[in-house]
Amino acid sequence: MLDRRETIVADLADLLPPGCLVSDVRGLVPFETDAFIAYRRVPLAVALPETTAQVAAVLKYCSRYGIPVVPRGAGTSLSGGAIPQEDAVVIGLSKMTRILDIDFPNRTATVEAGVTNISISEAVMPEGFFYAPDPSSQLACTIGGNIGMNSGGAHCLKYGVTTNNLLGVKMVLFDGTIIELGGKALDAAGYDLLGLVCGSEGQLGIVTEATVRLLARPEGARPVLFGFSSSEEAGACVAEVIGSGIIPVAIEFMDKPAIGICEAFAKAGYPMDVEALLIVEVEGSEAEMDATLASIIDIARRHGVTTIRESQSATEAALIWKGRKSAFGATGRIADYICMDGTVPLSKLSEVLRKTGEIAARYGLRVANVFHAGDGNMHPLILYNINDPEDAARAEAAGNDILKLCVDAGGCLTGEHGVGIEKRDLMLHQFTQADLNQQMAARAAFDPQWIMNPSKVFPLEGRPTA
């Protein structure tokens, strides 16, 4: 493939408008990774198409010559979903950023895949609507990437993740065929291909347009901070809130190191004298929020809450969320990190938190915990020094142990970040080879050539031989 680089680049240039192909050796380097910086590969070329037709033309070309393709949105994947390989053409959707249709009566928005998550909510906010899934990287991450990873976010506790809010896509298959799935009508006519595509990590095709569900904004929303003197108490409080039948919009957890990191950036007024912090958001009318909050406060008191602080203004609420949503990036202030994403049953939350700490200690590493507690989706941030190869190896080993711990506790490897490269080789801890074979068979129905983001998700061993 690499010997044919010159030809491939020249051919791609013919398929794309000026300024839409990166082939310069220097220019390719910045595409070698995404937000999972532990792994890097410089691609063969980067195509930045402006239309679905151009995406189709590039895919048709790549399929004809068997060239691997790696789709990329904003490159914010924490699992390496957008990391290329040396013989691959990256197809970046960053130039496809138009909002195509906003239909308030039907509560849908149709956008190009490169539109950022937050842009959708911003576009419909004046009319009193929002798009619910809110990954912490929502400022930058694209809707195409969200579909690729079936992204979640803090508010998914109430509103569901991407797959629950996605109504339709236009996508290009490996050979350049353009198809449409779903639309403004609910549910599938036949097989739920949309459900299969969502979260398929760019292995079934490249989504170029998406139709998503909009929701009416609640009358009000109020994040409240609950401080505890131990992580165990906070974890138990979460389990009891959910168990009692109260489902707040969001329950976020931060331990002491995470609180310090987030406060340093956002200055949100998080209490610094607690061991663990919950951000619980309630919404509705003032009376509804008061009522829900009263029940939550009762439960929190039973679990020894030491601080309760309600946000007093929209600005304060925004800062509380800004701090939480910037947690991973803000960690860069103190160390390099890898971010785990296992989900565990709520009853195991406290236990897994404790064991996570033990694992990190065993490897001599620090860990900060900041995550979506309400649905058990944990994000231990393992802090290390990427410039020290031994430290990096320890961090990776600790990460693997933590993820296995999550699976063994009845959970899964990844709740919202995707398998990507990061967790590829752990898949057999969660699935049998037969399970994976069936998934790979489904994949092959879409991409018989196995050229779409081929190095991801499935362990390299045990793949079907072509």
């Binding site: 308030f104 009566p105 039907n106 509560r107 009193g128 990873m149 569901g160 993740v161 797959t163 629950n164 298959l173 198809i179 639309g183 403004k184 009508a185 609910l186 549910d187 599938a188 006519a189 036949g190 097989y191 739920d192 291909l193 459900g195 299969l196 969502c198 979260g199 009416a216 609640p218 389990a239 959910i242 168990g243 039948g245 489902i247 509705g284 009318s285 509804e288 989900t343 049953p345 709520l346 009853s347 649905d375 989706n377 009845g410 959970g411 899964c412 990844t414 709740g415 919202e416 398998v419 898949m427 969660q430 699935f431 037969a434 399970d435 069936q438 998934q439 489904a442 129905a445 879409f446």
Partner: protein
């Protein structure tokens, strides 16, 4: 229908399928056989999951339950109700429409992605299915998903199997999310709107922050057949509010005054409200013991009424609307008019119509599912081939 196989364990089921695959014997897969599936399935034998029954695990505090596929849906709902929980997507009881007498199973609920009025706000059956175990067409047991709320590990075969009507695999165990049963329910009834006005009103109400969980429109022709005729005179546009009693009444008050400009408003309190939506869920007006063709149509909410209006100019139809107008229960007076219905749906921006009931003569010649576009149908066929290479599951039904 005679049942040939009733496996009692997953291993049994896998062995039966393996044997069938070896002989290329085609199996009709069913749970309780209550859904009156409207397609010409050509099978050599019938396999029912109803003996694969029982709740495997239920953890109310985690809001998840696992059950074997043949567990009666009613058993599950009773168990959940004991802990004041529910299946939020409100699967219908299909027996009213089909006239069948068996027990609908939880496997059937998910295999048909059966969702009721609360689908509008809470999502469909597929949105609540967290994990499953199934036997593929080669008799191999496959697991997908898990038992946690958020899980993106690997391809989401769970979604694919939900609604696949058993054509991609024989579900043996399902794990699903459950939600707290709302302590209070109230329904705002706005009388006097015609179908088009109702579509507008529903769109407006759904854009308000009142957290309406369901919105439906029951035209005059069907109104009297709900809750024993206790709905007020005139077509009824209905909105359901659920939650804590205090918040429900506060929202009901707001919504009532917002709706009052459009026409007379009444509020149905708890019991009537719950009964009404159960009947909407089970398509009460058309559960009339006949075999008249019934379509379940899904289109964009604002065009449902346009579809009905267009059809009325061509043929005899009766209809009512759920899901803000986007789900149309369409009962044909005589001919099913499949081509007409599907042509109009396409002209109105797309969607799909599924034949839910018809005489056997009609079933034999009418595709129950909306035909897919050529490129998509190629994908469906390939998928089917990957899960069931010999084509032994419910041949003729899908894919």
């Amino acid at each position: 229908m005679n049942i040939d196989f009733e496996p009692q364990t997953e291993d049994d089921a896998a062995a039966i399928v393996r044997a069938a695959a070896q002989r290329s014997a085609r199996l009709r897969i069913q749970g309780g056989g209550t859904r009156g599936i409207c397609a010409a399935i050509e099978a050599d034998a019938v396999l029912s999951t109803r003996k694969l029954s029982g709740i495997v695990s239920y953890n109310p505090a985690e809001m998840t339950m696992s059950a074997l596929a043949g567990t009666p849906a009613s058993e599950i709902e009773v168990k959940l109700a004991e802990h004041r929980q529910m299946l939020a997507f409100e699967p219908m009881d299909p027996r009213g429409l089909s006239g069948a007498t068996g027990e609908p199973t939880i496997g059937g609920v998910f295999a048909t992605n059966s969702s009721g009025p609360r689908r509008l706000s809470a999502g469909a059956a597929r949105d609540h299915l967290l994990g499953l175990r199934f036997v593929n067409g080669e008799g191999i047991v496959i697991k997908s998903g898990g038992r946690v709320m958020k899980n993106v590990t690997g391809l989401d075969l769970v979604k694919l199997l939900a609604g696949a009507h058993g054509t991609l695999g024989l579900m043996t165990e399902v794990t699903f999310k459950v939600l707290p049963l709302p302590p209070a329910s109230a329904t705002i009834v706005l009388s006097s709107l015609n179908d088009a006005e109702a579509a507008g009103a529903m769109a407006r109400v759904m854009s308000m922050p009142s957290e309406v969980s369901s919105a439906a429109h029951l035209p005059e022709s069907v109104r009297g057949r709900f809750i024993s005729g206790r709905l007020p005179d005139g077509p009824a546009t209905i909105f359901r509010l659920e939650g804590l009693p205090a918040t429900v009444s506060a929202r009901a008050e707001k919504l009532t005054s917002a709706c009052a400009v459009a026409g007379p408003v009444t509020v149905l309190e708890d019991q009537d409200s719950r009964a009404l939506w159960r009947e909407v869920r089970d398509v009460k007006p058309y559960a009339d013991g006949t075999e008249r063709a019934l379509w379940c149509v899904s289109v964009a909410p604002t065009v449902g009424h346009q579809l009905v209006a267009a059809l009325r100019l061509e043929t005899g139809v009766d209809a009512f609307y759920d899901w803000q107008g986007g789900r149309v229960w369409l009962r044909m007076e005589a001919d099913p008019e499949a081509d007409l219905v599907r042509r109009f749906i396409k002209a109105l921006g797309g969607g799909h119509a599924r034949l839910m009931r018809a005489s056997s003569a009609v079933r034999a010649v009418t595709p129950a599912f909306e035909p897919e576009t050529p490129a998509v149908s190629v994908l469906s066929a390939r998928l089917r081939e990957k899960f069931d290479p010999k084509g032994i599951f419910n041949p003729g039904l899908m894919g």
